[in-house]
């Protein structure tokens, strides 16, 4: 079943810079999709157009049979509660504890006053603790967010998204600031979320090898256009070259090695 459909979406900043032009793709329920491409290709813009953190200029984005582009403020909030998002720089509130940060994911579903005062129900708290312990953070529940390592912070970011009970997760460069070990832990968690919970995961990645290893499908973007859309098995050297431009020859990984593993 198709969960997300992106049809003819384009985005223009100002008069000249075209971040996205005529982007088309669709994502099925439970699929793990990576978006790869050089810096400035429009990956982040595309991700933010989906939950309307940025308004696309043209086209339609259909999430769960609703056109996100036409939603009013209240309906948009409803849709956003169903889409979790995690970020390269984690974007946690540093002065609050891990569990407070996790519970922030519930704000969208609460009344303004209860949310503003931080009044959470026992049920919500239990769920937060449960999610944190599946992510291996049960020892750090009361630690302040700025006392954690990068990998732990990103896991809190994932917990904050998961407590929303999302249909889909948007991940904007989730491992770009992490060391290889933490990056592997994070990618394993994301893969696990997709496989066991059936949550659709859409990840922006810089690391082609990671994208090929973890994804069901890879979408390659260059200059705001989709230049590749297929399974990791189908990707060829030519495709990589089309995604990353002429310097692709010098890319520091071996495509054959990945196909073999």
């Amino acid at each position: 079943m198709t969960l997300l459909e992106v049809n003819h979406v384009s985005k223009q900043f100002g008069n000249e810079t075209k971040a996205l032009s005529d982007v088309n793709f669709s994502v099925s329920e439970g699929e793990f999709v990576s978006i790869i491409g050089p810096s400035g290709a429009g990956k982040s813009t595309l991700l933010r157009c989906i939950n309307r953190m940025i308004d696309a200029s043209n086209g339609e984005i259909i999430f769960d049979n609703m056109n996100v582009m036409n939603l009013k403020k209240k309906e948009l909030k409803m849709v956003r509660t169903k889409i979790g998002m995690i970020f390269q720089h984690y974007n946690l509130v540093n002065r609050l504890s891990v569990i407070e940060n996790t519970l922030h994911g519930n704000l969208g579903k609460k009344s303004t006053i209860a949310g503003a005062l931080g009044l959470y129900s026992q049920e919500e708290k239990e769920q937060a603790v449960k999610i944190l312990s599946t992510l291996g953070l049960d020892e750090h529940i009361y630690k302040r967010a700025d006392q954690l390592s990068g990998g732990q912070k990103q896991r809190v970011g994932i917990a904050r998204a998961l407590i929303q009970n999302p249909r889909m997760m948007l991940c904007d460069e989730p491992i770009a600031s992490l060391d290889p070990n933490s990056a592997k832990v994070i990618m394993d968690h994301l893969r696990n979320i997709s496989t066991t919970m059936g949550i659709t995961v859409l990840v922006n990645l810089h690391q082609v090898d990671v994208a090929l290893k973890y994804s069901d499908r890879v979408i390659g973007i260059n200059h705001g256009q989709v230049v590749f859309n297929g399974t990791p098995k189908d990707i060829t050297k030519d495709d990589i070259q089309r995604i990353y431009g002429s310097e692709a020859e010098d890319l520091i990984f071996d495509i054959g090695g990945i196909h073999a593993s």
Partner: protein
């Protein structure tokens, strides 16, 4: 600026090293301008002392008389027109005036500060509020109190309104700047999960800037205490300032002024010690 002309390549520098010491600062237009200004100011200061019109006052004699006054003030301090408990009570009134105006100011400034923070509202609203607030701040507190005294009459009411007015303008600037320090990503993260404006304010913006807000508020409290003393004298707002006014202008009792100064000093030191301890604690826990 023609910095390029003056930049010497590292190799050249090493070649010349044996003959010339290496400069750390380049002599640019701005450093020259600063040096000329400082020299001019130093010259003017010295010149002014020689060109004062001293009339028939003998400088040495005047200095001695001043020292005698200071000695009488601080070493022969005594109570004459009031008692220790009275003075203590009056200091507490002054403290109360400072506390009240700081609290009023802080509460109003939190909301105006949120509106004045560029990352939370639009640029236009922010610029508007910051402009008005800068104007209010430019006028001294005493003047505001006297302006409000036209409507409310000289006394504590005018002092409270005027001091609150100035505290608001001061704290709006301080608060809005600490709100603007917040990483935009955090706001984005909560927005993307469907959180509303006020939820983001209370769950992310205020917790992140709480320590800054508290230390700015404390600083304003200290300023307000000093202003409250002055208001007692200048606007008849009561408290220890009024006693000081009476001692100096009515009874002409210089020794009593010494006593009052000691009281004010003690409170100021107490506040400072408390503030430092409190901030240290905040930094550890908050």
């Amino acid at each position: 600026m023609d910095v390029n002309e003056q930049v010497v390549s590292g190799e050249q520098m090493l070649k010349e090293q044996s003959s010339k010491p290496i400069k750390i600062k380049l002599l640019t237009k701005s450093t020259i301008a600063i040096r000329i200004t400082l020299l001019a100011l130093a010259f003017l200061t010295v010149y002014a002392f020689f060109s004062f019109d001293y009339k028939e006052i003998d400088f040495g004699e005047a200095m001695l008389a001043t020292f005698a006054n200071i000695k009488a003030m601080f070493f022969e301090a005594h109570f004459n027109h009031f008692t220790f408990t009275h003075a203590l009570y009056q200091v507490l009134i002054t403290l109360g005036l400072a506390f009240l105006t700081t609290i009023f100011g802080a509460v109003i400034a939190v909301f105006l500060g949120l509106l004045a923070a560029e990352n939370l509202t639009s640029k236009r609203v922010s610029a508007g509020i910051k402009g008005i607030v800068a104007f209010i701040r430019a006028v001294p507190t005493v003047l505001w109190v006297l302006i409000f005294a036209v409507a409310a009459g000289l006394g504590s009411v005018a002092a409270v309104i005027g001091m609150t007015f100035h505290s608001v303008s001061y704290l709006v600037k301080a608060y809005s700047e600490s709100f603007e320090e917040l990483d935009n990503g955090v706001i984005e993260a909560l927005q993307s999960s469907g959180a509303s404006f006020w939820q983001i304010i209370f769950q992310a913006v205020i917790p992140s800037s709480l320590t800054y807000m508290i230390s700015w508020t404390f600083l304003r409290f200290e300023i307000n205490f000093a202003v409250a003393v002055a208001m007692g004298a200048a606007a008849g707002a009561g408290g220890i300032g009024f006693d000081m006014f009476m001692a100096s202008n009515f009874y002409l009792d210089i020794r009593e002024i010494g006593t009052i100064t000691y009281f004010i000093l003690a409170i100021a030191i107490l506040l400072e010690v408390f503030a430092t301890k409190f901030k240290k604690k905040l930094r550890v826990n908050g």
